[in-house]
């Protein structure tokens, strides 16, 4: 049988998971270093839910919570013990090129920049804005060009829920709509090329920014941290995205990251439980830990204790 823990899933979690795996391998001589595959949250869960046995993975990384349909598939395939482990938070930032203007964004600015239609004088008109300064005087006078994550990214969901919907629903005209229509209206995007969806990873967004000075892109906090020499970050609702602000909950755009452990494999795959516990331990992902250094926003102490207990008790979904 297999003696290596096998992990797959979200590419957002991949770096953290890889570091945890490497540290785990280095710190626990008796276990092999877990292997961390990517393939996206969906791909990871797909493999996770394929069944029980050595040729299925033990842990699925996910940048979102598992969906009920997926859980059902899991159960149908004999995976009954799906243990959810929250590992921390990921901050999502807006950044522009180092030599471009400095942004202090509000969610509604972003909505107005990307929407297909915006309210003007009580009327819905096709988005007329071409420069940020037209949206708000405080914004730099540069062309609107927004590089947002493609629809295959988990980040997109957070972006839409925490920025677009929030910003959109502050508008009185939207509030006046029937609630069933609100979301559809808010999420409709302009199609004149000012909003581009990046289906690749953040390096592609960065390449976009390097090619076009005016572009504003959406990045993960850790990616921004590693590329501070090229991009600068925008504040959202006047909050600077930092680890502290996100932990404190003042920076709005963040999301939890998870992994899912296959309870059936605990005790069979050597090191599985130990790895899961190590991952969420204070030493690996607490403050001052390697994972924090890599950009993971740690759990609060209460959350951490709960998660650890879940693992120990094999508390399945």
């Amino acid at each position: 049988t297999r003696d290596t823990v096998q992990v797959a899933g979200s590419s957002t979690v991949l770096p953290f998971s890889s570091i945890a795996a490497e540290e785990f391998g280095n710190n626990f001589a008796q276990f092999k270093t877990p292997v961390v595959g990517s393939g996206g949250s969906g791909g990871g869960l797909r493999q996770f839910c394929q069944g029980v046995g050595t040729n299925t993975i033990d842990i699925a990384n996910s940048s979102r919570a598992i969906r009920s349909a997926e859980l059902e598939t899991c159960k149908a395939n004999g995976v009954n013990q799906v243990i959810e482990v929250k590992i921390g938070y990921d901050g999502i930032v807006f950044a522009s090129r180092i030599d471009a203007g400095t942004f202090a964004l509000e969610p509604v600015h972003v909505f107005l920049a990307q929407a297909a239609q915006v309210p003007q004088n009580g009327q819905m008109v096709a988005n007329p804005y071409t420069r940020w300064s037209q949206i708000d005087k405080s914004l730099p006078d540069q062309a609107i060009l927004l590089a947002i994550p493609g629809s295959n990214h988990g980040t997109r969901e957070v972006y839409e829920e925490k920025v677009i919907l929030d910003g959109c629903k502050t508008l009185p005209e939207v509030k006046a709509m029937p609630s069933g229509d609100q979301n559809n209206f808010c999420l409709a995007m302009r199609t004149d090329g000012r909003v581009v969806e990046i289906a690749g990873d953040y390096t592609e967004t960065l390449a976009r920014l390097q090619a076009q000075k005016d572009a504003v892109g959406v990045f993960g906090l850790s990616f921004y941290e590693s590329n501070r020499d090229r991009i600068k970050v925008a504040t959202v609702s006047d909050v600077v995205p930092t680890v502290d602000n996100i932990i404190a909950g003042t920076y709005p755009v963040s999301r939890p990251l998870f992994f899912y452990v296959k309870g059936e494999h605990i005790g069979v795959i050597p090191g599985l439980q130990q790895f899961a516990e190590y991952f969420v331990s204070e030493a690996a992902s607490g403050e001052g830990s390697p994972l924090e250094a890599a950009g993971l926003i740690p759990l609060s102490d209460a959350e951490r204790t709960e998660v650890l207990n879940n693992i120990r008790n094999k508390k399945a979904l």
Binding site: T1, S10, S11, T12, S38, G39, G40, S41, G42, G43, L45, R46, C49, G51, V52, G53, T54, S62, S63, R64, R67, A69, E70, T73, A76, G78, N80, Q81, G150, S151, N152, H153, G154, R156, E157, E160, E161, S179, G180, Q182, N183, N184, L187, M189, T191, G193, V196, E197, I198, A199, G200, E204, A207, R208, Q210, A211, E264, H265, V268, K314
Partner: protein
């Protein structure tokens, strides 16, 4: 005994049987000089070897195919009726039992009857393995003895051995068909699933590609049913745009290279330059992608700025140009072959009339080779359409219906990668669409290839 050691045993047996057969045929030939053996000793050896090994091997395959089902039904039959629900549940119970038997993945406490069943399963498996070994042994011995006794001068051992060999060769050549079947099978199921979500007409004729995040709004409850749009056309147009640009680069360059190599270059130049250009064909596409991303893209942007154009660093142009470079040797070596196939008699005919070399090439050789070259170009197009890594890195991944080469586009291949390795719900149309795209792509390249093949073949026949 596991399958691997069984196979090893069979191999040993085969060597022994081979010796037997050989020795016997030798002694037959030697003992009685008037007997002229039909085949050589090693043929007899091989024949006995095959008879000793093939039947048991066949039995092993059959056994491995059927025995799990038999064992499973025996185990199910042994389970007390009150624990035995029907249908779906049976599979789950069975999985649990086999997990128990393998000591793997058991979570909750096992019930008494489950343990019993697991033990029974374990025992049955052992018995099965034993029986298989015994059976194989018997069959092997029978095969060996019978074939050994059959050895006679008139026995056509060579024919038998050659027949088996032919079967083996035939088997290998069906792998290609199996692969195609595998490709189609692996995509059809998921594609059909996809079409239960999205109407085929919306997929094939849709003009927007905007597959919302699979679960956007689901949690919220208010957005259910909004799956986004899955229009194939923007992807297809992006694919075509990139392929078109690639061809704009590759055809003139590749063709001129081929013409120069085939018609003008002295053999020394040809012998050195050809491998150098073919190096381009051996470079992994990921390398081209990287080259496009970090060098060609920025260069084109700067160039565009000088000319007053806005060219994105990652754009259809970047991907197309780099892909074109990749395809130069592909076109040049295929066309080179085709040009050299044009009979010398045609060239002589034209030269003999007082045509210059270029006139001969342009007016006689190229028209004659045209069908073949078109075939080569079509093959190159199908490559361009199927190319992934360059586009992943350099086309900018923006599925929009545009004809502007300076804009970012996305292609079918890239979208397959993105949708399948993204964060989408794996049972959602967002990720199932990858299979529909894959199948579409397969069909497109299949058609292109068939057309190209037909053309190239026609062309070959022309001179045969």
């Amino acid at each position: 005994m596991n399958n691997f050691s069984l196979i090893l045993m069979l191999l040993v047996l085969m060597a022994v049987a081979y010796q037997f057969g050989m020795v016997r045929s030798r002694s037959l030939a030697g003992g009685n000089n008037s007997a002229i053996m039909h085949s050589r000793p090693h043929h007899y050896g091989m024949m006995v070897g095959l008879w000793a090994v093939l039947p048991p091997l066949f039995i092993m395959l059959l056994w491995n195919w059927f025995s799990p089902g038999v064992i499973q039904s025996m185990v199910l039959a042994s389970i007390p009726a009150e624990h035995l629900p029907d249908g779906e549940q049976a599979a789950i119970i069975m999985r649990r039992i086999s997990n128990l038997a393998a000591n793997f993945g058991i979570v909750a406490e096992a019930a008494e009857w489950e343990l019993n069943a697991a033990n029974y399963l374990q025992a049955l498996r052992q018995q099965s393995a034993l029986m298989l070994t015994a059976l194989m042994f018997i069959v092997a011995s029978v095969g060996l003895l019978l074939s050994f006794r059959k050895i006679q001068p008139s026995l056509r051992a060579r024919h038998q051995v050659e027949k088996v060999m032919m079967g083996l060769l035939l088997l290998c050549s069906t792998v290609a068909i199996l692969t195609t079947i595998g490709i189609v099978l692996s995509m059809v199921g998921e594609t059909l699933k996809f079409f239960t979500f999205i109407k085929p007409s919306d997929f094939f004729f849709g003009t927007t590609w905007n597959p919302r995040f699979s679960t956007a709004g689901v949690a919220d409850g208010s957005l259910t049913g909004s799956q986004g749009s899955f229009g194939l056309l923007p992807l297809l147009s992006g694919t075509m745009l990139v392929a078109f640009i690639a061809m704009l680069v590759a055809i003139p360059l590749g063709l001129m290279v081929a013409i120069y190599m085939a018609e003008y270059a002295p053999s020394k130049v040809r012998n050195t330059v050809k491998p150098v250009i073919e190096v381009l064909a051996g470079i992994p596409t990921i390398v081209y992608g990287f080259f496009a991303l970090v060098t060609v893209g920025p260069f084109l942007t700067d160039l565009g700025a000088m000319l007053g154009l806005t060219i994105r660093a990652t754009s259809a142009l970047t991907a197309g140009v780099v892909m074109g470079i990749m395809l130069i040797p592909f076109i040049s070596s295929l066309s080179d072959d085709i040009l050299t196939q044009v009979p010398k008699a045609l060239r002589d005919g034209s030269l003999g009339l007082g045509a210059t070399k270029s006139e001969t090439i342009r007016k006689v050789v190229l028209p004659a080779a045209l069908p073949g070259i078109v075939g080569a170009v079509l093959l190159a197009v199908s490559r361009a359409i199927g190319e992934t890594m360059i586009v992943v890195l350099a086309a900018g991944n923006s599925p929009s219906l545009t004809a502007n080469p300076f804009e970012a586009v996305s292609t079918v291949t890239v979208t397959i990668v993105n949708q399948l390795t993204g964060d989408n719900d794996f049972a959602s149309p967002q990720s199932l669409v990858a299979f529909a795209l894959g199948l579409t792509l397969f069909v497109i390249t299949l058609l292109l290839n068939v057309v190209a093949l037909v053309i190239v073949r026609k062309y070959r026949e022309q001179y045969e």
